[in-house]
Symmetry: C2
Subunit: 212 residues, 2 copies
DNA sequence: ACACCCATAGACCACCCTGGTCAACTAAGG
DNA sequence: CCTTAGTTGACCAGGGTGGTCTATGGGTGT
């Protein structure tokens, strides 16, 4: 795909974003190359000139996204933070920064991971498993379990906390849907997010350990 | 639709289930009447003989499901239970029973509520809003907030607990996917569910109030 | 000025699936 | 034997699919 990679960056980005958006919203089968080229503002022919087929495009996107996730997201997460909830707070912040730069990467990866009905070529499969492993390590490696109350199973507490955070993020998504991303006041939602985290700390950590 | 309602119950059920499954999985637009009739084991013509159009079928299903949710689910929930977590436990049990009898009702309602891009005829819209109101009342009416620790916002605690439970249920769904519903040992999962609930009680309730 | 070349657009292809219709058939009841 | 209601699947026009190909620019070297 050197053809594609010799384009000006702007155009590359436009095409990648259009394609990621379409695949993220519809999944591989239901995604339409017609819509992709229209959204990207290029002729139909070009898409098949750059990439040879819909499938190739999809796999190119997958590799591209995994690169970004590993190099621009995982790379920046501070794994020396031993406080589980703080670590999650930190990862949420980093993730948000990445998302500001690459709007549809997480959407695309998300729907890919959900409906993993597709069978990938071996090298992508391997790369994906590696990424999955890495992601888990990032969350759980080096966590200080002694912060948690003694009377609850920390494994279960981990999950409860993650589900809580996912729940908040999902609710936020539906609350904000339709609104322009540019200038909705994010700070107020971060504030709210932190309040939830504080409650989680008060609830799951030993008394006196929930201070920041 | 008297035509349809004069069929033997078995056949009605088969058709309704096929249709609910298809709509639940694909949404209204992407759902295929061809697949529905094949799955239901009837000729294409019959579907349009019973219901006049795809749209009509969809709205019939919606009314049908709302009836079931209200009369067979909401009706059975014990709203005298003032302990929030116990109430959720109870509703989960009732819901599971209903689901055993009407496999796709909740799936159908779920995807309907998610992508509510469709505009309904007024009477269905009204009925849906009523159902939504009722559902909320069922969760929050008559809850004894004094069970909760004083140092956390009960509104937020409500949400954290609901997100936690939804998280568990979702994880369970992916863990069990593909397995035959008939004889996977449900008890072991209920057990696990109760353990999570106990943790939530220990975490969010005042000390000494978490006993059953 | 000409020839070459590659980037580009979009009309076009064969194919597939769609919601919906309809003529033909069956079976029951009088 | 006629009527009527239930039932089927071939069929329809329309629209969307991934992918191809021809025609057109616009540059560059000569």
């Amino acid at each position: 795909m050197e053809k594609f990679e010799n384009l000006e960056m702007d155009k590359q980005q436009k095409i990648l974003e259009s394609a990621m958006k379409e695949f993220a919203e519809k999944g591989f089968e239901q995604a339409s190359t017609n819509r992709i080229v229209k959204e990207a503002g290029i002729g139909k022919g070009m898409l098949f000139y750059y990439f040879n087929s819909k499938r190739d495009l999809y796999e190119y996107l997958l590799a591209y996204c995994m690169d970004i996730v590993v190099n621009e997201y995982f790379q920046l997460v501070d794994t020396s933070e031993a406080d589980f909830i703080e670590r999650l707070r930190h990862t949420a912040e980093v993730k948000m920064e990445v998302q500001a730069k690459h709007k549809y990467v997480f959407n695309f990866m998300g729907t890919f991971m959900l409906k993993k009905e597709e069978d990938l070529p071996a090298h992508l499969q391997k790369r994906y498993e590696e990424l999955y492993r890495l992601g888990n390590a990032l969350l759980y490696e080096g966590i200080d379990t002694s912060l948690f109350r003694n009377d609850i199973d920390t494994e279960k507490a981990f999950k409860l906390i993650r589900w809580s955070i996912e729940g908040y993020q999902n609710e936020l998504l539906v609350r904000l849907e339709g609104q322009k991303m540019t200038e909705i006041d994010l700070d107020v939602y971060w504030q709210e997010f932190y309040e939830y985290l504080d409650i989680l700390k008060k609830s799951f950590y030993k008394e006196g350990e929930s201070g920041r």
